[in-house]
């Protein structure tokens, strides 16, 4: 099962990296959206420093949503999803592999770009490491919840528009603790408790979200 899951992951990574459009779109959206804020709220360094962590986090979540609706869609259309369902990976394994591929092609690049945006938004330099660590733990949660949303809206009318409505309420806790970790570092309180809660959320989502996504995928195969 693990081998088959890794095979699906390798295939999706190869597909994702060969058509880098998704990756470029997500990172581009992230950068442009985050850098709209200095124009929207004004360029005062104090105001930007105050909102930087939240802006980076929120725009990263939105950028991560962009490619979610295509997580299962192409495979469902050309019939490979039926084959994958029969593979030893099982639908839960497929969901894990797809979420992992989504994270590596979308979440990880967003984490790598985030320090540049944080500096441009005048975030306290001491908090930048915490920002990256919190996003490193938090963005996989988005990919896992996103797998649920993508699986449930498979074949739905306006599925792409539905995914944010379904997923964003569920990632509110991730956002709260992710931003709280950065702000705790900036104010000198220590980010450890917030990062531990984020890690707990990831530890809960990692086994449970693929099961829910697999149940959603199963509906589309009926």
């Amino acid at each position: 099962m693990i081998q088959a899951t890794l095979a699906v992951l390798r295939r999706d990574l190869a597909l994702g990296l060969r058509q880098a459009a998704d990756l470029v779109t997500a990172v581009g959206f992230f950068a442009v959206a985050a850098l709209l804020f200095p124009f929207g709220v004004g360029p005062e360094p104090q105001i930007l420093a105050r909102i930087a962590a939240g802006v980076v986090w929120v725009t990263a979540l939105l950028a991560g949503l962009l490619s979610l609706d295509r997580m299962f869609q192409p495979d469902a259309v050309d019939g490979s999803l039926d084959q994958l369902a029969l593979s030893p990976a099982g639908l839960a394994g497929v969901a894990v592999a797809k979420a992992a591929a989504h994270w590596i092609t979308t979440g990880l690049p967003l984490v790598l770009v985030s320090p540049v945006l944080a500096i441009m938004l005048n975030l306290d330099p001491a908090a930048i490491t915490t920002l990256m660590v919190s996003m490193l733990i938090g963005t996989p949660c988005l990919s896992l919840f996103g797998a649920i949303g993508a699986a449930l809206t498979l074949g739905a009318r306006r599925g792409a528009a539905l995914v944010p409505l379904l997923i964003l309420p569920l990632v509110v806790p991730v956002l709260i603790f992710g931003v709280a970790a950065v702000e705790a570092t900036a104010t000198g309180l220590g980010a450890r408790p917030h990062l531990m809660i984020l890690a707990a959320l990831l530890a809960a989502a990692l086994p449970l979200a693929p099961l829910a996504a697999a149940a959603g995928l199963k509906l589309s195969l009926d």
Binding site: I148, P169, G216
Partner: protein, 241 residues
């Protein structure tokens, strides 16, 4: 449980219960409103504003209760492919969204004079807002498919996943020490609320529950009849073809 999988039987049961629930609603609501608006004392601190509580608290209880009803119904529908359970979850969703909206609106009306603000990003308020969005997501997903059964099942999974938010709503006032006051009725020791105010609250909660049951039955009946019509139309169309 499987007895009620037969839609015709469920319709008969709904028809038999209907007058009783309608009678209970008609009796409890005027009584509860009288007790809440005239038959109970004003608060020594909050004055007459405390009367908003008699609408706000039952609406909040129902918001959580209805979501749990939806989650349990969805689980029954997914595990046993129970046809009526799926429709019952679907019938409950807009009612739950409505009660959640009432809870948020009355809370804002109370918060303005008492806290000096319509809205704060307090843990309880935020988690109820998330509950509201989960209701909206359920409704949107259930209606997003050409095949309503497929929509009902997909939305059912969302209802079960989203249920994690219900304990967060319930215990948010204990876990985070923010503006919203902690529970004063459902406590292990005696309720921290005077009987003169507790009784109107209990009657109002019963009235709200009866109203929900009544509307739920009406909507469930409509869903069952609509599903039957669709089957009849499909078989007619097949007969013609």
């Amino acid at each position: 449980m499987h007895r009620y999988a037969n839609p015709a039987r469920t319709l008969r049961i709904v028809a038999a219960l209907f007058p009783w629930i309608a009678g209970a609603t008609a009796l409890l609501f005027p009584l509860g409103l009288y007790l809440a608006l005239a038959g109970s004392p004003a608060d020594y601190q909050q004055g007459e504003t405390v009367r908003i509580m008699y609408v706000h608290v039952p609406a909040a209880w129902l918001a959580m209760f209805i979501y749990s009803v939806m989650a349990v119904s969805s689980a029954l529908a997914l595990v046993w492919r129970h046809p009526v359970a799926e429709l019952s979850a679907r019938a409950a969703a807009p009612l739950g969204a409505g009660f959640t909206a009432v809870c948020l609106a009355t809370g804002a009306l109370w918060g303005q004079p008492m806290w000096g603000t319509w809205w704060v990003w307090d843990a309880r308020l935020t988690s109820v807002l998330v509950l509201f969005f989960l209701y909206l997501g359920y409704i949107a997903l259930a209606d997003a498919f050409d095949d309503p059964e497929r929509g009902g099942r997909a939305a059912g999974i969302l209802a079960i996943v989203g249920w994690v938010n219900v304990p967060i709503v319930k215990f948010s006032v204990d876990w985070w020490n923010t503006l919203h006051q902690p529970a004063s009725v459902t406590r292990l020791d005696a309720p921290a609320i005077h009987p003169d105010m507790l009784w109107p609250l209990i009657v109002m909660a019963a009235a709200f529950t009866a109203l929900f049951t009544l509307l739920w039955m009406i909507r469930l009946r409509a869903e069952l009849i609509e599903r039957r019509n669709r089957v009849v139309e499909a078989s007619l169309a097949e007969g013609l073809a």
